[in-house]
Subunit: 119 residues, 2 copies
Amino acid sequence: MSKSLLVLGPAETAACCSPLSSQPLSAQQAGQVAPLLKALADPVRLRLMSLVASHAGGEACVCDLNDAFDLSQPTISHHLKVLHDCGLLDREKRGVWVYYRARTEALASLGALIGSASP
Amino acid sequence: MSKSLLVLGPAETAACCSPLSSQPLSAQQAGQVAPLLKALADPVRLRLMSLVASHAGGEACVCDLNDAFDLSQPTISHHLKVLHDCGLLDREKRGVWVYYRARTEALASLGALIGSASP
DNA sequence: CTTGAACATCGATGTGTGTCTATGTCTGAT
DNA sequence: ATCAGACATAGACACACATCGATGTTCAAG
């Protein structure tokens, strides 16, 4: 079966709407955006996201990320999977190593949705 | 005991730092920001926040909010308390009614922290 | 083919959370 | 003083989640 219609992750279709303060979010919109926020609403995942996004080259290897935390390797792997599944992190395997890359457009859309001052 | 030193809620001291992609978040910073995101990371609370923020006059009465959901009154009250406790919502009682107001500066700080494209 | 390293998946466990019903606390009106 | 309405709190319960150790999978090297 073809996956050609699903090249875009959930993050692309969720946060591309008007800011919170401009008009009420529909139940459906809220249901799409909330999972993205939930993925970020964990101290470890927030730091992971920040580490990957601010890393040189725009990507970071899992081995580097593991060392930055006092947690087990499966736990870090789990958090990375959460961020990847909701479309906030891209994943690429090169040899034995796996590199993650932040989806800055998704982050930008989310940020724009949350914070937009009204006059 | 005086509360004069606590006029500012948690939201003011949490999200006033550099964007995610510029430099790695410290564990302490992540620990301060995550609760704010966790408060927003629920479809009901996200809609509540949006309803209050986009409401005429910048504030909304609880009775109005209750009618917008198919949930019990205590449940809505609980969600409003979560948003209020983390500093995203201001609370004011006038007569029998209670009005909530969105802290747009807190929302703006959070949005800026999450979404900021890097060159 | 075997070994070791990098990473993911699985199953278990304690803790957190969203929701409800029932009850409490104000406040204005009768 | 009593009553009714608006909202908060308390307790209970089902479910989700963060974490771990153990195990599986994939790949490169020897």
